[in-house]
Symmetry: C2
Subunit: 378 residues, 2 copies
Amino acid sequence: MREVCVIGVAMTRFGRYSEIWMEEFAREACEAAIHDSGVRREDIQVAYCSQSFQGRVAGQRILKDLGLTGIPVINVENACAGGGTSFHATWMAIAGGFYDVGIAIGVEKMTKGLIPPNPEDLEGLLGRTYPGRFAMMAQRHMYEYRTTREQLAKVSVKNHQNGSLNPYAHYRESLSLEAVLNSRMVAEPLTLLQCCPVTDGAAAAVLCSKDIAKKYHDQPIEIVASVVTSGIYQGVRKGDLSSESELSQRAAAKAYEMAGMGPEDIDVAEVHDCFSIAELLHYEELGFCRFGESGKLIEEGTTSLDGRIPINPSGGLLAKGHPMGATGIGQIVEIVWQLRGQAGKRQVKNPKVGLTHCVGGATPGIGQGACSVHILKK
Amino acid sequence: MREVCVIGVAMTRFGRYSEIWMEEFAREACEAAIHDSGVRREDIQVAYCSQSFQGRVAGQRILKDLGLTGIPVINVENACAGGGTSFHATWMAIAGGFYDVGIAIGVEKMTKGLIPPNPEDLEGLLGRTYPGRFAMMAQRHMYEYRTTREQLAKVSVKNHQNGSLNPYAHYRESLSLEAVLNSRMVAEPLTLLQCCPVTDGAAAAVLCSKDIAKKYHDQPIEIVASVVTSGIYQGVRKGDLSSESELSQRAAAKAYEMAGMGPEDIDVAEVHDCFSIAELLHYEELGFCRFGESGKLIEEGTTSLDGRIPINPSGGLLAKGHPMGATGIGQIVEIVWQLRGQAGKRQVKNPKVGLTHCVGGATPGIGQGACSVHILKK
């Protein structure tokens, strides 16, 4: 298996683009990533594009506007973990020796319409929708570990603070703890400002085999772990009402093994904070603290920009936004910028190793359907 | 790159399953393919699932009913070439050394609803829909090469004859030339019985690395070429009004090169006959005859079951049906059965090498968006 690097990244500012075709803003992200990488358009040999709601052959429709046609284009879908999946598939295509240079694309125009209910999802039809599910996890976490409403809300305060420093974030205003706690209740204890918004956007990354990376870019970032996996019936965390925990834990364990690293080696991470409680659960599942101690971690500022392990410096899904198929690649973009020292006002102090994590695709009976974890190294 | 074999295949009978959830009939196909392969469910390490209209994390929703959870599941989409793409991606995962055993799944419930128009497809909105586009190609072929209406209709007669011998085909009645010619006109010169029907169905294939294949199955079928590629602006065949020709030709050329073979080495093929004219065009693009001579090929019976190169012994899209994401895997299933000598009444005489070809995903400005060609060897 060959070693693979990321040599170019870009994203649109995440936001609402209801008047713009997705092909148009996705093309911008691809064009900028190619420019950033130093490769010529014609050097790109393969493309993977993730999306969930953009219709047939979305990748081809984006790439034709770039004149990037006649190459293998594979459209992938894995719900909220789609971006991580597209990046993983591009990594595989190069690591396996099939291609030398490829582009991973993620895009979503969420303002096109709401997520249609899955007629097989009886739990969902009975009201166990995303906010409801995550609210139950929050309730259980509060019960089991004495996690407080304030600790939950602080996740959103931190991420909006980070987002206020990120020109690519959907929301760029910092929020007070009171504003988060007093916003409209969606599902007890999760208030509106603890739920990620409806956001459009696109992101792209150019990957190549390590042996040729320096030819194109003087700061190639190594991919030292790339994992995609799916959920299982068993392994529900004790009293958690969800099997999400097991999935992210297992994906992270595999990634740490692949990289020959542990959570203590991670200097910065982007994790899937679709709701405030989700970020706390992921601190524990990814090994950034012990189970039950995530409330303390946010409380003590350990995951703030100037903390020991800054989490979601981009603003995360809560402030940067969550265009489903684009989110995983957007996380990669942020970590690459952080490792290169290009993250502007939200730059973390000299990080050497970064992690990205996305998870989603609620599937009746197995909890979350897909999870992706990547570890990148300067 | 490791050599890879197909060791198990299965499909549902293609047809209309409007009252059955797609998860249910797709599971049947997976279960039967796993049984056919001789692997234990727990030996399967990775899954790729193709579909275009089945919603988020379709693969996970299918596999959970089999208890096949906790493995990497990647959902792929490439319109009518989706099945070929899912098979190709599974091949890559094993050929690249990432996994030893994987399952490729294709499924579509077309009766769920019609294909929604793409708002960016201005040509489509102006009436250049699939039947119209293929009708123009037919008109041009008739003009350029004196291809006749009867020759076109004979494609459908042959494929329905083959379908009548296939218990897995949607339509199993043979049709007279008159019946095909006299059916309702859809787009001059294509009558209704020269257009593929709306069909539901699923198909699956189990793949493994060649070195362990005999452990599971005594007739492993080798994958000697696996190609996915996309269309381009240029390369429109002279006077053809379509760039589809260039795409299939290029994909086939790449596959022949990979296999170290030529069209003369192919003993049996499944090609993308979404309309009668499509099959004729593909004879030429895949090199089974020279350009302009496809009318003669069908006329002379060269592509009939007992001809020199039987094409679409399964009945093809015209009679077996065309559940989009499943079609490409359904073609693989038929070729594996033919190479194993398990094709019953439609068995071709001792074929050693078979080819599958699917193409689709009309993309404004580039013609067809995706094409996949595979060559399998006994």
